[in-house]
Subunit: 270 residues, 2 copies
């Protein structure tokens, strides 16, 4: 029984000249040095066919011989026996970007979802996802929110995610779209969750068994640790009133850095 | 001998229906309940005449009977005896927005600058400034920098400011323009300086004698305290390499909150 690794990508990962993040995902799918067999889920997008063609091409170029399309656009397809059977032979599943609510509303609670969680938790299945495909991994996920605003309770809209990584809340396109406010807002609502802000072309590898996080890619992962928050008006303030937040611990981690999840201590790895 | 109060505004302060920030500035200019006499410096802008007309109208509407234009566009004017004489009778000086380098390159080291510092430090002169007029107040100021980027050494360009508030580095239009990265970058270069991110229509009152900060206005002031930073690659990294930063303390403070400058402890005031 092994929990599989997660690779959360902040969107716009390089697919051509320096595809180091997708290479890392392929590596994570080689269990015990074996053959990677990757399924691609494009449910988040309305252009699933084109996205599958692109990821299929890139993964094949990176040496993956088996790339399966798990193209689910309607709930009824998400429990189809043929789909579930295809999942059995995979060593990794990759979720494309798009809209995270399409992922959860189409796949949440389906047979596909059950098998995904089970194979990830017990069978070491690697799960990767970019943009919406990264956001959906937490228990409670960010759906949308205003960027370029200081945090208010209204800044962020949450929904139940796919529950692959509990205890975190994940945002993507982070620096590029100025999303610190909405991440702070999510953390203020429950400082126990660890806020994760993923920049574009940057990834966080999550190993729950080793309780280790590792950063890959070109930019940084911002970690918002709210456990030491001393004061907040999160519960008393009106929806549009500015949030007060004191004592937030912030880490900005590029490649070569990581963090222990138990102690929440960042450290240099490379 | 009294050090005057500073009022640093993040730009776009309300001038019409709820001009609470400018009202506060007028209040700060009423020393011992006396008559406020305000000088307006529009050096930062290329449209100084129009800006002076606007601030003059607003301050007069708020009950200020003496509003003087200190319109300095060239260095030679900045040491003119007539200008210096006009400063003697003022209880407050307000700096408009524009380009902070115009302020420092035109006024830095002039007789105007000397009198400004002297009257602020010894004579209780209130100094207010919005946008560029706030940025220039620190010893080392942010000139420009990429927004929407995770911090690199290149993210931020610094220059010597007017030195009214040492120990801080100030950024404005903060949440609205996604500037957390460049403020983190500035703090990483010397974690002793306190990073101050001012949202639009929001102000920070700085009382150096009482070592107290107080927030006013509609949104929030973000305080980045880097003293506890444990690790950074600020000195070793290439200019465009992402910065690593661990252990940054962050506070988000709306109106009704403040902070003691000596202990760097935020607290509720209202």
């Amino acid at each position: 029984m092994t929990i599989g690794p997660l690779l959360l990508i902040g969107g716009r990962e390089n697919k051509e000249q320096h595809p180091e993040i997708l290479e890392r995902f392929v590596e994570l799918c080689r269990r015990h040095g074996g053959t990677p067999r990757i399924g691609v889920v494009t449910t988040a997008s309305t252009e699933g066919q084109a996205l599958f063609a692109e990821y299929s091409r890139v993964f094949r170029r990176l040496g993956v011989q088996q790339v399966a399309g798990l193209n689910v656009d309607r709930r009824v397809e998400a429990s189809a026996p043929a789909l579930c059977q295809r999942m059995d032979e995979l060593t990794g599943i990759f979720f494309s970007g798009g809209d995270q609510l399409r992922i959860t509303s189409t796949l949440g609670g389906s047979r596909f979802h059950q098998i995904l969680l089970q194979r990830h938790r017990k069978d070491g299945l690697a799960v990767g996802g970019t943009s919406a495909g990264a956001s959906m991994m937490s228990h409670t996920m960010i759906v949308e929110g205003d960027a370029h605003e200081s945090p208010t309770k209204n800044t962020v809209k949450m929904a139940a995610g796919m529950g692959l990584w509990n205890g975190a809340v994940i945002d993507q396109h982070f620096s590029q779209r100025g999303r610190i406010g909405r991440l702070l807002s999510a953390v203020a609502q429950n400082p126990d969750v660890l806020g994760i802000g993923l920049d574009e072309n940057t990834a966080l590898e999550v190993r729950l068994e080793e309780t280790m996080l590792t950063v890959w890619g070109a930019s940084t992962v911002t970690v918002v640790d709210g456990r030491a928050i001393q004061e907040t008006n999160a519960s008393e303030s009106d929806d549009n009133q500015p949030l007060a937040l004191t004592g937030v611990m912030l880490h900005v981690l590029p490649k070569g850095y990581g963090m222990d999840l138990t102690t929440r201590t960042p450290r240099r790895i490379g």
